[in-house]
């Protein structure tokens, strides 16, 4: 299943993330999960919220470079070999993972991870196959 995330370009400086969080809080947007990625000089913050349309709007208004992007939510069995099966399928389909972060962990016997693939549609098809 694909879900919408908000990606924001931030400078790697104290206070920048705080400003972004305040803009979301002021717009009453709740953050479900968050990931920080950084290159040497800048960072990209990725968030899943309860309202990505309102979130992007609030961030743009506050002067942030924010855009909506899509990631794939994948349920992985929480047992040895769970991840190995998933990556084997992706390997067979020739799909590359650009990045991944956790959506929710510790739900009884499964975990949900978010993936950005170089080809989201192809990856979804590969994972759906047996």
């Amino acid at each position: 299943m694909t879900i919408k995330q908000i990606s924001v370009f931030l400078e790697n400086k104290p206070g920048k993330l705080a400003g972004m969080m305040k803009a979301l809080a002021d717009a009453d947007v709740n953050i479900v999960t968050l990931s920080l990625a950084n290159a040497p000089e800048f960072g990209i913050v990725r968030v899943i919220t309860d309202d990505h349309v309102k979130g992007v709007e609030a961030l743009a208004k506050a002067g942030f470079a924010a855009r909506e992007t899509e990631v794939v939510a994948v349920t992985v069995p929480d047992r040895p070999g769970g991840m190995a099966e998933l990556t084997a399928k992706l390997d067979r389909a020739g799909v590359n993972i650009e990045y991944s972060y956790a959506y929710s962990l510790g739900h009884a016997d499964k975990a949900v991870l978010l993936f950005k693939f170089d080809d989201n549609a192809k990856a979804e098809a590969a994972l759906a196959s047996a």
Partner: protein, 433 residues
């Protein structure tokens, strides 16, 4: 044609006679009233009567900005205070300001220069002109104001700042001409976009009169493409008049100098020899009409060239190249001479880069650190770190190809670099001197 433009077409021979006649009045006046000038002429052994031809001007001493500082406040003022009508001052980045007292006639000459520039751009009394240059000691605001008023335009003196209100007034009053620094216009454009105002659809804006800071053709193209207006260059400096010493002509790649008021020379900045038309050097002006604070052979530090040949518009006034560099703006980095304008031109070749950047220099004990911060446009921002790294690489290559140095390139978020309402500062040099 507006009658103010009549002198623009004066036959060359007549112009040269007029210039000589004016110089033959100015030089004895300056010699009589300004001690510094008299002392320097005496040291050189040159007398006012030695000025028999225009070429003889080269025998006379130069004036420099440091003279204005050293003689602050009134040492170079030639007219008595009873004749002075106005003061303008330039802050100067270090130490003492410079002060330029002017007579009523001096202000009228300055006004004439601005009005002639605006008329040349195609501005008429039907235009509504918003003046967003600062008013006050700085000559930008009042200069543009007088020029537009002389043409009979409707003038909206907003001054600098309060950007959202400026955009609202621009829309509501049908403003057709804006006068400000190019960097402030870029800021206006960003704010307008945030407010959902499209210059093309929501305003009647068609001309921009931009000056007071050096800017490149590349920035001018950016301005024209984002706003759909014609971006005109107005050149001037407080020491000589204010804006309106020269203005760009729609027919050529350069600026007509109002030579009937401001006598231009190009000199070699090292030897100070006068160079023939067509050669690049330092621009030097003599104020032919000014009596409050006349300037004889004032070295502007601006690098330019007086073009040869006749402009297709029919104006006889000589054309100078756009000033893209001021000699004291030159940076020496790792032993290489670099002008900020060269860097700007490189950056603007990368479409994803917004026209906002900052050059930062600092030094450790052993070496110089050279960093360029550039804003990426909101559209160019990508979720993909590799794409952003690729962009950073392309910016670096663009700079490296032209200047031969590899600065550290830092991509920063849109809107994060400081904006200016007046002259923008794009170089921070914290190196140990």
């Amino acid at each position: 044609m507006n009658p103010v433009s009549t002198p623009d077409f004066m036959p060359r021979e007549e112009l040269r006679k007029l210039q000589l006649a004016k110089l033959q009045e100015l030089i004895p006046y300056e010699y009589e009233h300004v001690a510094l000038f008299r002392r320097r002429c005496d040291e050189k052994g040159v007398k006012p009567r030695d000025l028999a031809t225009l070429a003889d001007l080269a025998k006379f001493p130069f004036m420099k900005k440091t003279d204005l500082r050293d003689e602050y406040p009134l040492g170079l003022t030639a007219a008595p205070m009873s004749e002075i009508n106005r003061f303008h001052c330039s802050s100067g980045t270090t130490g003492k300001p410079i002060c330029i007292p002017q007579t009523a006639e001096d202000v009228a000459i300055w006004t004439d220069g601005v009005a002639r520039c605006m008329a040349m751009y195609g501005i008429t009394k039907d235009d509504v002109v918003q003046v967003s240059y600062g008013y006050g000691l700085f000559t930008g605001g009042l200069g543009a104001h007088y020029g537009a008023e002389k043409l009979g335009c409707a003038v909206l003196p907003t001054g600098a700042g309060n950007t959202e209100k400026q955009i609202m007034l621009m829309k509501d009053l049908g403003v057709t001409v804006i006068c400000c620094t190019p960097s402030y216009f870029l800021h206006l454009a960003t704010v307008a976009e945030k407010m959902g105002v499209d210059f093309r659809k929501d305003t009647k804006l068609r001309h921009g009169v931009f000056g007071a800071e050096p800017w490149t053709d590349e920035i001018r193209e950016r301005i024209e493409s984002i706003s759909g207006i014609e971006a005109h260059d107005i050149y001037g400096l407080t020491e000589i008049a204010g804006p309106g010493v020269a203005g760009n002509c729609p027919h050529c790649h350069g600026l007509h100098v109002w030579e009937d008021h401001f006598y231009p020379e190009i000199v070699d900045p090292e030897t100070l020899e006068v160079l023939p038309d067509g050669e690049e050097g330092e621009l030097v002006f003599t104020t032919l009409d000014r009596r409050g604070t006349p300037m004889v052979r004032y070295r502007t530090r601006d690098l330019s060239r007086l073009q040869t040949g006749q402009c297709p518009c029919g104006r006889t006034m000589r054309v100078m190249d756009r000033v893209h560099a001021r000699s004291d703006d030159m940076l020496i980095i790792h032993g290489v001479n670099v002008f900020p304008s060269q860097i700007e031109a490189c950056l603007m070749k990368v479409p994803e880069v917004a026209p906002h950047y900052m050059i930062e220099l600092s030094s450790t004990d052993t070496m110089d650190r050279f960093e360029i911060k550039v804003e990426v446009t909101a559209e160019a921002f990508s979720d993909d770190i590799r794409a952003l790294e690729g962009l950073r690489r392309r910016v670096l290559d663009a700079v490296k190809t032209i200047i031969g140095l590899s600065p550290k390139i830092t991509l920063v978020a849109p809107g994060s670099l400081p904006r200016s309402e007046g002259k923008i500062k794009r170089v921070i040099d914290n190196r140990k001197k």
